[in-house]
Symmetry: C4
Subunit: 245 residues, 4 copies
């Protein structure tokens, strides 16, 4: 089996695994689940980790050039190898983004906008979860409910930053920095899409004008072809007309 074929087959199961993982993580963090239910959730998350690890191993095995695949996919190894650092586990969800990337929209701009909007929504949700996970145990934490975490994530990704809520732990601050950079990217894509649309609309008008300028040139060429054809006819009649002379 080739690697490409494996990836095609594995895509939807991996998506489902990622969603199961996200649900279990969200439930555990938001519900502060402890005891036997907490153990079940923890077991589910380890199982999803196992699936991702197996996927990594199979991919490495099937790669046409293993060394090259290993070097180019170091980030996947990192994601698989660091499951003990809880918020990092959420990085597995980039799987979801790659599917988003493929499934939506017709025009380039439509695709870009849908992709970014979905990514931003996913980022806000995952960022809120991750920050709540690491912050809620900190002694002087400000973000202690999921509602607060969502609100904080939105004010951060839009770069508004009221400052009524902010992370106080180092890991929470790293999550925040990631969200801020995403915010800049989101802003950039929104602006760029509008700019590209405007530029194109303005240029379409200009191109119609340019076509109008080129039109006479085209007509002149057509006339030239007709002229030459007439010339050849005349020449033929000249030659044919001479023998009887």
């Amino acid at each position: 089996m080739t690697q490409q074929r494996y990836r095609d087959l594995a895509e939807w199961p991996l998506m489902a695994t990622a969603l199961v993982f996200l649900a279990a993580y969200a439930w555990q963090v938001v519900g502060r689940v402890e005891g036997s239910a907490g153990n079940w959730l923890e077991a589910t998350m380890w199982a999803t980790w196992g699936i991702f690890a197996v996927d990594y191993a199979v991919n490495l095995h099937l790669a046409p050039n293993r060394r090259q695949w290993f070097v180019r996919n170091l980030h996947e190894l990192l994601i698989v190898a660091l499951p003990f650092f809880r918020p990092l586990r959420l990085l597995r969800l980039v799987t979801l983004l790659s599917v988003l990337h493929r499934t939506v929209g017709e025009t380039l701009r439509g695709r870009v906008v849908t992709y970014v909007a979905s990514s931003a929504a996913l980022l806000v949700f995952v960022g809120a979860l991750a920050v709540l996970d690491v912050e809620q145990a900190a002694p002087d934490a400000k973000i202690v409910t999921f509602g607060d975490a969502l609100w904080w994530a939105i004010t951060t990704i839009t770069t508004v930053g009221y400052g009524d809520l902010y992370p106080v732990t180092p890991i929470g601050r790293m999550v925040a920095a990631a969200l801020m950079m995403s915010g800049i990217a989101v802003l950039g894509v929104v602006t760029a899409s509008i700019a590209s649309w405007l530029v194109q609309r303005v240029e379409d008008t200009a191109e119609t004008a340019a076509y109008a300028v080129e039109e006479p040139l085209r007509a002149e060429l057509s006339g030239l072809v007709t002229e030459i054809a007439l010339l050849r006819q005349e020449l033929a009649s000249l030659r044919d007309g001479q023998p009887p002379q």
Copy 2:
């Protein structure tokens, strides 16, 4: 009567209704009107709701393909069907935006800029009203006067976010999130318009240069046409000159 004709006829009355609704809502929220005057305002708002509901029904009745129109206009049903959730009623004001969209400006960029500036102003006003409406009753609210609400809306839509004022209720935060996203869109449109203007100006210069490059090609073609015409004359004189030979 066709749906299009109905919409043309209904447009200005609906605009007026939306403005009456906005005025009544603003008066009620800012003035904290109670008692008999409050009842009158409440009755006015219910009357405007009735007009919007009738408009929805007539539109659905006149639509060429009712099922299609229903599916494509689910958001209008939502706006009509949820009048009990007060700030959502303000969504009816999107009617105003659609009129703005049509009436202003000559060039594409001029239209976009006017549209966005008006939308931003309307959003700030409506956002301030909505937040004041839901916040002023909350026990630990920070936004309790219309002046504060306006100031907060401006700092939010520009993504400055001092944090001296911010909503504390879930609905207030949703309104805030909508304003922030509008802020990003406004920023995007402003930037994009300037970028498109700059790109066009720079390209105009480039196109003038390109025209200069194409000029000799055009001249050569013209020369070719003259040459061929001369050729045909010569050929004609050749044929006509031979009989006397």
Copy 3:
């Protein structure tokens, strides 16, 4: 004397007047000058106001179409007629901007960037002055020194908005809103200039490629012209060669 000629003559004196006004205003606000020195500064500011009023009157008198000029320059009337509202007087400094607009840079983009950078610097300075003017007398003001006002203006125009300092009076908040909008415009121009530069650089490469594609077409046309010329020569020799036959 035509209006245009008057404007050319009056430009530099008006610039000087605006600078004198700015210096007097800054001195009065920052130095909290009172007593006889304060009276002198106040007198200076009224004198500059007088000069602007005279300029407005002369312009109106010399305008080819007075009614049209009056309608199109309502903002100038506003600036002249409202000198009692202190921060508004600073609007006269837009005179400085119009000079900036003319004097700097060679390329379009260079002009835009210089213009915006200078405007931003002037806006920060004038915004800080205006806010300090209206805030320093307020009972719960946060901005009470010029250093604080400058710092606040910078955090506002860049849309960072820490919230350590913010205006608390209605007029101060209006000045802040103006600064925020300027911030969005500044951000927009910076981004747009970079985008336009990038687009142009990428297109220059594309155009070089397009020229390479058009080159053979041009060569073909040239060959065609030569061919036709040869044809005519041959034809001429055909006709001239026949008589001796």
Copy 4:
């Protein structure tokens, strides 16, 4: 030895000197090193300053036109001449940026993005160091650990500005203003790169279409050439066929 050759030779040693300086400065500021170790660090920093001063002198000596070089490189004199104002010393690190500028990426856009990302990372690090240096001794300082300084620098350059931390000294505020402007530039470059990519992608599609439109023109021209060639053949046969007549 020419100046250009000297610069080529001196580049990597100067880079190394800048890095040594950065390490010594960071160690001193973050570690609050005092006593004999502090003296060693201070001596190292003075030594790096000496190397930069010598480099400036050699450059001035080797310049083809010394007066011109002096005027155009006033900022380098400033950096060398003001070593007593500690944070300003960090400006020497612009040397690092010029190397970044040269070494990375293949396409224009790739180079721009890599350059900006690296500059932003360097700016955050250096800004955090500089602010910590000037703030940690202030009585009411908020930024007193390197972790806090880094977190503050990130919230500032992304223009989020929570306001949980902010500089309180004049020099700290100047460093902050520089970071904010960098933030606007970073945002601008990110947006512009996306916009330029989108515009190019959209135009590539348009250009393919334009080529399709030009194709018939090209075909017609080809046909014309064939036609003329046939014409000449016929003419030749006409002339050659007549003598035997």
